[in-house]
Amino acid sequence: MNEHKEFEAELAALQPIQPSAELKLRIAQRLDEPITAASGLRRSRGPLWLAAICGPIAAVLTWFLLTGGSDETDPVTEPPDQYMQAAAAAAFDNDLPTLWSYRQAIGQSSAELDALLDKHAQHSSEPKPQRAGAFVSVFARSDSQLEDLLGDL
């Protein structure tokens, strides 16, 4: 840089022309003014711009984090159709002791409820029919398994 010292000094000796006096007056006037509505509006648009840009980005990131970037849904979370249909059929089967069947009976009469309870008591003492397809129950274990467990205790 030393080879330029003399030249730098020559350049520095040149004085840029002073701004006009009018510029100073105009700046003084502007600084005396309150901040204009326009500049306030410009400032208030900032967060809107940010929201417009960041919103979609955040949505894409969230989607990516939740799905791992794949369009395919997790097969484990979707129960197979056959199990869903069997579970739905079981839930509305009058022969089974379900909440739906008891509600239906109470809705008709107390005599109907007694009859249903008797029916289910009778069924539970009979051997269970083998249903075609998968056995569906709202409990994890069958009644016979539970009885075996209770016998162990």
Partner: protein, 165 residues
């Protein structure tokens, strides 16, 4: 404040000439350059307390405002008109005995690449340090220093036929 004053007039007196010179790089006329400086200076003064380096911020504001004004269609038209008569306005003050040399320097400055000229202006006439220029231009310090050296070398080349005092 770096210079110990909280008066805007001190800032304008200290930096005004260099700011107008800097704005002239992107404006058609001195009047346009003063418009740019006015807008940038008002913005600077109202937000100077929120920035780390007010001087760097002031020069950066002038550049941004100048580039904004350049994008306006009317300004571009006026720029084209002004470049048709570039001899109308001088950049530097000085006695008549320096006219030839001064004109040669002004011409050489106008031929510098924009990114070199702005560094030279901020360093020589703005009095900014390389780190301040780097902050104003959002450019690494080493790059700024290189541009400065290239600018000086190029100016000297162009003025080679002129005697150096």
């Amino acid at each position: 404040m770096a210079d110990g004053s909280d008066s805007w007039t001190v800032w304008l007196d200290r930096h005004g000439p260099a700011l107008v010179l800097l704005a002239r790089q992107w404006t058609a006329s001195r009047a346009d350059a003063e418009d740019v400086v006015q807008e940038a200076f008002v913005r600077f003064w109202r937000s100077r307390e929120r920035v780390a380096d007010p001087a760097a911020y002031l020069y950066a504001s002038v550049k941004h405002c100048a580039l904004d004004s350049l994008r306006g269609r009317q300004r571009q038209v006026r720029r084209e008109q002004a470049t048709a008569r570039p001899e109308a306005e001088l950049l530097f003050a000085g006695g008549i005995e320096q006219d030839e040399r001064r004109t040669a320097i002004e011409s050489a400055l106008g031929d510098l690449p924009e990114n070199q000229a702005e560094v030279l202006l901020m360093k020589i006439w703005g009095g900014l340090t390389f780190p301040q220029i780097a902050a104003a231009l959002e450019t690494p310090v080493n790059t700024v220093a290189s541009r400065y050296r290239y600018a000086l070398a190029r100016l000297r080349e162009q003025l080679a036929e002129e005697p150096i005092r």
